[in-house]
Amino acid sequence: MANPMRIRAAVKDGFTEVRVLMSHVMETGQRKDSSGALVPAHFITELTAKHNDKVVLLAQFGPSVSTNPYLSFKFQGGAKGDKIVVSWVDNKGDSRSDEALIA
């Protein structure tokens, strides 16, 4: 089971800014360990962000994204107390979903 994300969302002037910090190794599959063996690729492939039940962001991630990725985006609308749900799936089929309320 992956570690939780930290999600913060705030509404200002009709736009909601969502900031997400994910905990993930994001292995590229290019690195070698101390014994010279290739470290298998392990990275987030798809991320979905929902405002209440509506998808507001769908992103495809790849091996070039850093370890413990940080994502920030804005969408129009949203109100205080609305639910934001962010979920990701990685190439090993592991997944994680966390939610936060708009402040």
Partner: protein, 264 residues
């Protein structure tokens, strides 16, 4: 011909200087950009849950751990560390105090951390716990109890260690950290002999290092400084490491903590 070469060399030196300056600016800009999403927060979250999870042979949490502000009080504790603890009769920094708590409350032997490897096992646990504790002193002023004779003694010891030259390159801490404007590669080094530099250093460690995605405690930072000097690496939480921390924190007295920090 010779003159031309000289001019070319001078031009290269000038360009190098300008480049170093702009790189420092670029790094500062980059740091500002990602400060908003400092991944140290992930370690802090992990640390908080570890703090409240029963662990070790005694199946106890750390919620009764006394960091100097009373059992279980985390808020503001790091701003007053290192400090003298009457129960152990020693001046302790955050990491050595956490070792005491893990040993007495949870029954986890200190050797699990002291003899361990960086970023593994109980040392990794220590990283997360430190991240949790220092976050609760963020924005607070560094206030060491310098009236305490034991703390004074450690300050003097730390100062001596800071200027003590050793190893094959005859380095001391002050070789790199005793003057303004020094750097290793593109990393600017703080001058730890005056307040401003000491605040920049003591006030921003422990920190998340973007280059290797690791969270480093001050113990790890100090150990690596010794390694870079090619001299004997100190034992985890040993007296000399605590003394150096007292020297740094005392020099930074009154400065505001920005912990956990974010490093290149």
């Amino acid at each position: 011909m010779r003159k031309t070469l000289g001019m070319a060399a001078l031009a290269a030196v000038l360009a190098g200087g300008a480049q170093a300056q702009s790189t420092a600016d670029e790094i500062a800009k980059y740091r500002e950009m990602i400060a908003d999403g400092n991944p140290a927060e992930l370690f802090e979250m992990e640390g908080e849950s570890l703090w409240k999870t029963p662990r070790g042979p005694k199946k106890a949490t750390l919620e009764q751990c006394d960091l100097g502000q009373g059992p279980g009080v985390v808020d503001g504790a790091f701003a007053r560390m290192p400090r003298y603890f009457a129960d152990t009769g020693r001046v302790q920094d955050l990491e050595s105090r956490l070792l005491t708590c893990m040993e007495t409350l949870q029954g986890i032997p200190a050797s699990a951390v002291v003899d361990g490897d960086w970023n593994k096992g109980e040392r990794k646990t220590m990283d997360a716990l430190a991240a949790y504790v220092v976050t609760h002193s963020r924005g607070q002023k560094i206030q060491l109890d310098l009236a305490n004779p034991q703390t004074r003694r450690m300050y003097e010891l730390g100062k001596r260690a800071f200027y003590y030259r050793s190893g094959p390159m005859d380095f001391s801490c002050s070789t790199c950290h005793g003057e303004d404007g020094k750097r290793i590669r593109l990393q600017d080094l703080p001058n730890l002999t005056h307040k401003e530099g000491a605040i920049a250093a003591w006030g921003s460690w422990p920190a998340y290092r973007v280059s290797n995605s690791q969270f480093w405690t001050m113990q790890h930072r100090l150990n690596d400084c010794f390694r870079q000097q090619r001299t004997a690496e100190p034992e985890f939480a040993s007296e000399v490491t605590v003394a150096l921390s007292v020297y740094m924190a005392a020099t930074a007295q009154g400065g505001v903590l920005q912990t956990p920090g974010l490093k290149r």
